[in-house]
Subunit: 435 residues, 2 copies
């Protein structure tokens, strides 16, 4: 298959008409309680479009959602936005009415500084739950960031750093595509690391296959023109096959947010869901899916303490809900995840997890195998519920890879699901045991 | 409240008319792949009643159940049994029809040696999944154990050792009570450690509040006389408030089994569910509940790598299912459990877990507090969704205890649930990463 888009170097500012900045304002030092001896880390980001952009946003379905999520979800619903202000080091979650005021003020300060209406500014926060935002530092940060806003790639990289929490590296992707004879670009940036199993939706209603749990933040910019319905539909599909299919620890965050801004600077005819626009929309979708999936995989590979990247490919389920539930039971089982860490092809633990999931399983029908990432040659440890004669050493050669696939066939139906997951290591425990 | 029973020293052989033995037959060395340099460990156990006993058994509701579970569940259903043969080091799970034959043969060998009908012998296995039982060793073990069967306490202790896998210590409780003027005894023994979140039932139907996941084995003997309906009802209630309320890692095993034998040697009028027998049955229930709960707590305290024992007390839910689901979401969250390990009162992670559970939660209503074990003085970190002014240091004094309670009030209804749980440590990961 020929790709209809091209991966290009760049950052969130690669699409025309976007500027970014990422600065230090010392929320991280406060919020995480880490001493200042760790050195300052960027923790305040601004992203601005030169012109009002069509916006779509998907947010956590956790019943406990952070103040910035509540505000941004309502504003994204309006369909037009021009800026995002974000901080790391403090989630502004479980902070009640005062927290909501803080989030609103954060957008107000940014709006004033950028000469925008506050309703056109979205906010995101990530970090420790339950602490009030240090608003003096937020204000300082916004004041410092605004004059640095720039369309050069480095400003995008600075933003990528400023939204990081326990991430060990920034996560960015950019692509270029043709839309009706015009060149358009899509670029994304995200952060993840822990509390990662997003289940996001446009409406607050949980996706059909309900995941359990990250804070992940993702901003995607494009200079394509798009109608709101087209943009919402495209982002929903892109998230469904990427961020909503990953798990690091099975813990869904209060702050997960994916925000897509389309500012039309590429000059294409606006993408729309009508028949006439289908071909362009399909091309845009394919490119957007790629951006979202690459970013989602980066989150898993950089998951807290993760030493291996495992793709669970489950098929033969009676329904998609069954496929999704069974794959997540495997990917979130502490016993399965520790065996992956050890490079141990312990398919018995996988069977145990399948069996206790609420998905329909018939022991005597289950196949379990391993392959290289995306590999077509599957080495089966179990066929129809019985151990094969494949040698442990041969299975181990696969499960000792940094990345491998687990193939499960329930042989009960035609539904399938893929989950991208990480192993459970001592480092994860050490990292999260507190200060 | 005056206890209607008395805790006494002893073992599974304390009730009249029971004999036990626990011997070495080297299944463990094989099954776990550990080298023989680790020293031999008892791995084959026999438990025999001098006379046919009324039996009740609750077994895992995992859809993938081990061969001995399938056999024992069917035989327990018949209502009369006289012996149990058990091995550790190999779960005889995911072994298909040959595994089922092995389990059957295990009971047949024991039955012959003990002069019983095979249908009166139940079997239990625990250990690695997916390996065939080494039947020659099983046979050797049974032959070695039979002549050692004895009613002295030490034989019960030997049995307690022989069913251990990753347990660091044997787990035994015995009590004495009066039933209609006669002295009766109840004694229990169990093993646990990892793959612990049982959800057992008499019928294979999952309990209303469906837990996710251990291998735990438990044998309870009593010299009380009881009808089958009374014994089944009593065991169901005892398990519902003990083993089905614990979690070590949220992984439900393929082998969980609780078997209760009542041989009537105390000479009481048989316990029954009719009006006339209610007082005795209630007294028996209270004592049985104590035995089951003490054993269940021992499993959590000796959970793989566990460094703290935490009781999650959740109330104010709209239904018992909501209460149970929310309490389990908290007790199984990797982020919550690692914060417990660190002695960190990170209630924000608890809120996150409540919010992603499928239980109904209203952020602005939730209270979260901490106390000493069973303590009535609760220190609230969160009231009506907002952080209180209680100092972190005061909360830490509680969460740094080896045992503490977490109190959650959803303030939405009158249902409650308790879950006994352990923290997530590096040792757990190290232990389970394979060989």
């Amino acid at each position: 298959m020929q790709l209809k888009f091209k991966v290009i170097p760049g950052s969130i500012t690669t699409p025309l008409g976007f500027r970014a900045a990422g600065v230090f304002c010392d929320i991280k030092q406060l919020g995480t309680g880490k001493g200042s001896d760790k050195g300052r880390k960027r923790d305040l980001a601004l992203l601005v479009s030169d012109v009002p952009a069509t916006v779509a946003g998907l947010f956590t379905t956790n019943q406990v959602s952070a103040a910035p999520v509540k505000i941004s979800a309502a504003r994204a619903e309006q369909g037009i936005a021009q800026a995002v202000v974000a901080n790391s080091g403090n989630a502004n979650a479980c902070t009640g009415a005062p927290g909501l005021k803080d989030a609103e003020r954060m957008t107000l300060i940014a709006a004033r500084r950028l000469n925008l209406a506050p309703e056109q500014v979205l906010a995101c926060s990530t970090g420790r739950i339950g602490l009030r935002l240090p608003m003096d530092r937020v204000k300082q940060g916004i004041e410092a960031a605004a004059p640095l806003l720039s369309a050069d790639a480095q400003s995008g990289h600075d933003l990528a750093e400023a939204i990081m929490t326990t991430d060990t590296r920034p996560k960015e992707v950019a692509v270029e595509l043709q839309l009706g004879g015009k060149t358009a670009r899509i670029a994304g940036v995200c952060k993840g690391a822990g509390m990662i199993q997003p289940g996001m939706s446009l409406t607050g209603a949980r996706p059909a296959a309900r995941p359990l749990h990250a804070t992940m933040l993702c901003f995607i910019t494009t200079d394509a023109a798009a109608t709101q319905p087209a943009l919402r539909a495209a982002l929903t599909e892109a998230v469904a096959q990427s961020f909503n299919r990953i798990t690091v620890d099975g813990d869904m965050s209060t702050n997960d947010s994916v925000i897509l801004l389309a500012n039309g600077q590429a000059g294409n005819a606006p993408l729309n869901v009508k028949a006439a626009g289908r071909a362009d929309l399909a091309r845009f979708q394919e490119a957007l899916n790629h951006v979202a999936l690459e970013l989602a995989k980066m989150i898993v590979r950089d998951g807290e303490g993760a030493s291996r990247f495992i793709t669970v490919r489950l098929k033969g389920a009676q329904s998609f809900t069954d496929a999704d539930t069974a794959a997540r039971a495997v990917a979130n089982s502490p016993l399965v995840r520790t065996s992956w860490y050890g490079g141990d092809p312990n398919w018995g633990r996988i069977m145990g997890a399948l069996g206790y999931s609420s998905a329909k399983i018939v022991e005597a029908k289950v196949d379990i195998g391993y392959s290289e990432p995306g590999g077509r040659k599957i080495l089966y440890a179990l066929k129809a519920g019985r151990a094969t004669t494949v040698k442990m050493a041969a299975l181990k050669r696969l499960t000792e890879l940094k990345e491998f696939d687990v193939h499960i066939n329930l042989n009960l139906g035609t539904s399938q699901a893929v989950i991208y997951s990480a192993d459970l290591t001592e480092e994860y425990v050490d990292f999260n045991k507190g200060e």
